[in-house]
């Protein structure tokens, strides 16, 4: 099948880039006013910092109210290096950026486990500590700050003029935006948005969530550091008065107002917000009213920010027409087939899980043989989902052993480690990455197989581009297999429940599972879709994947399963062929609830 897919990049973006570069180059020549140039410089470095914050807030979904602290660290480091150590700008600046990045990675650590208001507090505390420390410490000049910070010098020995400094800032800003665009459109952007969408689902596909959160913090602090460095060398003087809480608020507001998680949101937001003082300079008294008012109005009426709201307009979609067509690659369905069928793939012995006083699982022994479709049934609350959660590492077992491939005992590992073994699952409440497109959801499933690293994508090397296209073709083939390819470019959250289910299965298949565990795949499906599901399951089995299927739909489960295990109250009460299980007394009682119903079940 051939489908137009929004390609990795294209000539359109280079044109934009060149146009922007030209415009920025010519701007100060036409408007040669010192104040104007100063404002433009400021917009430049504030934009860079805001862009960095959005990578954290918009892409990764981590709130940060301490961005001013990282900005400050970049500024102070470069200022100190150039004044106390005598480094030239071209050395002190990268040094400042690196130190900011290091602090960012340190800040990431408490942020890994804290969420919501707790995470906000961590970042706030960080920001305040930076401000207070720089204000009180003699090393950073105390309240007086640092003075005589040199401007960058050119090779001929002269200091840069303001116009040249602006060109430097603008050039770096352009590069920062370009790199952000490259990261956004490829693996990193997808992964971070996936994290934000559902951490648990991302982990179940093999993504190391902690690593990516740290990476997001580092990138955002590098950007903040760059901004801070430029700020320090702009006026020759800094002190802690700048790096207050309200600066962090201002960065966050710019990012959200522009539209978090969009490519151009930070640009729009930071330019508008930072121009307010200049535009309304005459209304000195009312300035903060206007500032606060604009924030409030935008947050209330444009929750997705300016760019985010624009994206909803149909006109905008027409402009973003995808322009490359790719063909699907069915080779993706050649799953690694095993040498020996019927060997035990996954076995649990005495598996137990307690939540407080509740025994969700107790003493479960079960073996899933390779090449089979293993059904798992039982009333709501009988422990079926808990079983999957324990096996995939979402919960630690309270007791018992899990063995893989007959001999390898599974230590309690994080879910992303288990996924690397080829144990993949879907969720009872479909957990797609709603903001990503359907095909991007599947692309996230290829995470473990993508070889090109961070820098390859950053610089958009040919290898990275080729890899993207290669896997897009495979993703398309998987969507075809699940008969959902026509919706490939749509946002996943706009699909119906049944369609989302299919995308989730396609995404799970992308990880090349040896064992695929489906948690109630039939829930919410109509009869046609059910029939289709049964066929998909047998196709998956034919492709060499072993399946565990949790279901309530009796007809479906009896029809597809080679063996069925029955759970009730956290224990396995029966196991066998569908015929055997159907006639089992204990099963009948568990499902029909009452002993007297034995008669009713026998009614023809």
């Amino acid at each position: 099948m051939q489908l137009p897919i929004f390609a990795y990049s294209g000539p359109k973006h280079w044109v934009l880039f060149v146009l922007a570069a030209l415009m920025l180059a010519l701007l100060p020549i036409f408007f040669n006013d010192p104040f104007f140039i100063l404002v433009m410089q400021s917009l430049g470095y504030l934009f860079i910092a805001t862009l960095g914050l959005d990578i954290l807030v918009g892409w990764t979904g981590q709130i940060s109210l301490g961005h001013a602290g990282l900005f400050a660290i970049g500024a102070y480091t470069s200022a100190l290096a150039s004044t106390r150590l005598g480094f030239p700008f071209w050395v002190s600046a990268p040094f400042g950026v690196v130190i900011a990045g290091l602090f960012g990675s340190a800040l990431a650590i408490p942020s890994l486990r804290a969420r919501g208001p707790y995470l906000a507090m961590v970042t706030i505390a960080f920001g305040f500590m930076v401000e207070v420390t720089s204000n009180r410490w003699s090393f950073t000049g105390g309240p007086m700050g640092i003075m005589s910070i040199p401007a960058p010098t050119l090779p001929d020995g002269n200091e840069m003029t303001p116009i040249q400094y602006f060109w430097l800032i603008a050039g770096v800003a352009l590069l920062c935006q370009l790199f952000a665009a490259n990261m956004f459109r490829a693996r990193l952007g997808r992964t971070l948005l996936a994290l934000q969408g559902s951490e648990i689902a991302a982990q179940s596909l093999g993504i190391n969530v902690y690593r990516y959160k740290v990476l997001a913090f580092v990138i955002s602090s590098v950007y903040a550091g760059i901004g801070g460095v430029f700020f320090a060398h702009q006026n020759g003087f800094i002190n802690s008065d700048t790096f207050v809480f309200s600066l962090s608020v201002s960065f966050l507001t710019s990012a959200l107002m522009g539209g978090s998680g969009t490519l151009f949101g930070p640009l729009v937001g930071s330019v508008i917000l930072n121009l307010i003082p200049t535009v309304f300079a005459g209304l000195q008294e009312y300035q903060l009213y206007i500032y606060g008012g604009i924030i409030l109005v935008t947050i209330v009426f444009l929750p997705k920010g300016i760019v985010g709201s624009l994206r909803q307009i149909p006109l905008f979609h027409a402009w973003r027409r995808p322009h490359a067509t790719i063909a699907s690659d069915p080779s993706v369905l050649d799953f690694p087939s095993s040498t020996v069928n019927e060997e035990p793939l996954l076995a649990v012995h005495g598996l137990a899980k307690n939540f407080g006083g509740v025994r969700a699982l107790s003493g479960v022994d079960m073996t899933i043989t390779r090449g089979s479709v293993h059904g798992l049934i039982g009333p709501n609350g009988s422990g079926k989902s808990t079983f999957i959660n324990v096996v995939t590492g979402v919960f630690r077992p309270s007791a018992g052993k899990i063995t893989l491939f007959g001999n390898k005992e599974l230590r309690p590992l994080g879910p992303h480690h288990i996924a690397a073994y080829g144990i993949i699952r879907t969720f009872q409440n479909v957990r797609l990455f709603g903001e990503l497109s359907v095909i991007d959801n599947v692309m996230v499933g290829f995470h473990l197989q993508l070889k090109c690293g961070f820098f390859a994508h950053l610089l958009q090397t040919p290898a990275a581009v080729v890899e993207e296209v290669t896997f897009r073709r495979k993703a398309l083939a998987l969507l075809e297999f699940l008969s959902i390819a026509e919706r490939a470019n749509e946002q996943a959250k706009n699909l119906s429940y049944g369609q989302q289910r299919r995308v989730e299965i396609a995404r799970a298949l992308a990880v090349r599972p040896q064992l695929l565990m489906l948690d109630e795949p039939a829930a919410g499906l109509n009869p046609t879709e059910l029939h289709h599901l049964a066929r998909i399951i047998s196709d998956i089995k034919a492709a060499g994947v072993t399946l565990l299927v949790i279901e309530h739909h009796m007809e479906l489960i009896m029809g597809i399963s080679d063996v069925i295990s029955v759970f009730d109250f956290g224990q396995k009460i029966a196991e066998g062929s569908s015929v055997a299980v159907r006639q089992n007394d204990k099963v009948i009682e568990a499902y029909l609830g009452v002993a007297e119903s034995h008669g009713a079940a026998v009614d023809a």
Partner: protein, 295 residues
């Protein structure tokens, strides 16, 4: 040695008094957080309004202190009603969970500006109704206002908790906090409870302002830092733990003052350093609730 002990003792009392104000404001954060999952990031500005409006009533209008307190609480409570309507309710339906942070910050920016226009940007002395002379307890000198703060603020915190646990409306509020749907199904007007939560929370902040103002100065910029420190106090024990909040406020207040005795530079940063350590060990606060999502 003796003078050090005296200083420590004075620091303890000052710490308890400021700490009880932190606890009072943190109580406000607690109430709105448990009922709506949001809080007023501009709570500090409500404290400031309570202080400055109280100042106007007490000094400019010459009303008795008790009346000034009552007026300040009434005004900030009414402002809480407005805040809920303007900055909380419109953004609750937004999927993005950060909207309320910025909308409440926006309101605080507007309030700060209004305060500067109405009362000017300078610091103003708020004369204590209990006089400026120091009371000697042993060899330590303490302001009577400080003692009053401890009694009044802590008393209010306890009274609010009592209200929550014993009164019908309090139980309804706890019910809404625990499970909105279940509360709605037994006939509780959830919206009314939410509005009340914000009114109460803002009134508490206003009370804190007029109580603390005679100790520190009253001025338009007085609110931000106490607001953030009270937030740290609320976080310390876990945002959903009322005892933790009380302890958090007092601990932070005392810690600051004690470190201030050692080195005034340390005083400012210690709270934030402390809370970072706490959150590194326990990401939901020392006594914070469990976070269980169904998978």
């Amino acid at each position: 040695m003796n003078s050090l002990l005296v200083k420590l003792w004075q620091a303890l009392v000052s710490g308890l008094s400021i700490g009880s104000i932190y606890a009072l404001i943190a109580e406000g954060y607690y109430i709105t957080f448990i009922t709506t999952g949001t809080l007023n990031f501009g709570q500090g500005e409500f404290l400031m309004v309570g202080a400055l409006f109280g100042l106007t009533c007490y000094v400019s209008f010459g009303l008795p202190y008790a009346v000034a307190v009552f007026a300040a609480v009434l005004l900030t409570g009414a402002m809480g009603f407005g805040l809920e309507r303007v900055a909380i309710r419109p953004v609750m339906r937004h999927a993005l969970s950060l909207s309320w942070v910025l909308s409440t910050v926006a309101v605080s920016i507007i309030l700060k500006n209004a305060a500067v226009q109405l009362w000017g940007p300078e610091q103003v002395k708020f004369p204590s109704p209990f006089g400026e002379s120091v009371v000697m307890i042993g060899s330590a000198g303490i302001f009577p206002q400080e003692l009053f703060i401890i009694i009044a603020a802590l008393g209010t915190v306890f009274a609010v908790q009592l209200l929550l646990r014993r009164s019908l409306f309090g139980k309804a509020l706890i019910a809404v906090a625990f499970n909105r749907n279940a509360a709605a199904v037994v006939g509780i007007n959830v919206r009314r409870v939410v509005v009340f939560a914000f009114v109460l929370s803002s009134a508490l902040a206003g009370l804190g302002g007029i109580l603390i103002a005679p100790i520190t100065f009253a001025w338009a910029y007085m609110g931000t830092t106490p607001g953030i420190k009270a937030f740290a106090a609320a976080i310390f024990g876990g945002l959903d733990n009322p005892i933790g909040i009380l302890i958090g406020g007092l601990v932070i207040g005392v810690l600051e003052q004690l470190f201030g005795v050692v080195n005034s530079n340390l005083k400012e940063g210690i709270t934030f350093f402390f809370i970072l350590i706490v959150l590194a060990i326990r990401p939901t606060g020392l006594m914070g609730g469990r976070e269980i999502t169904k998978v």
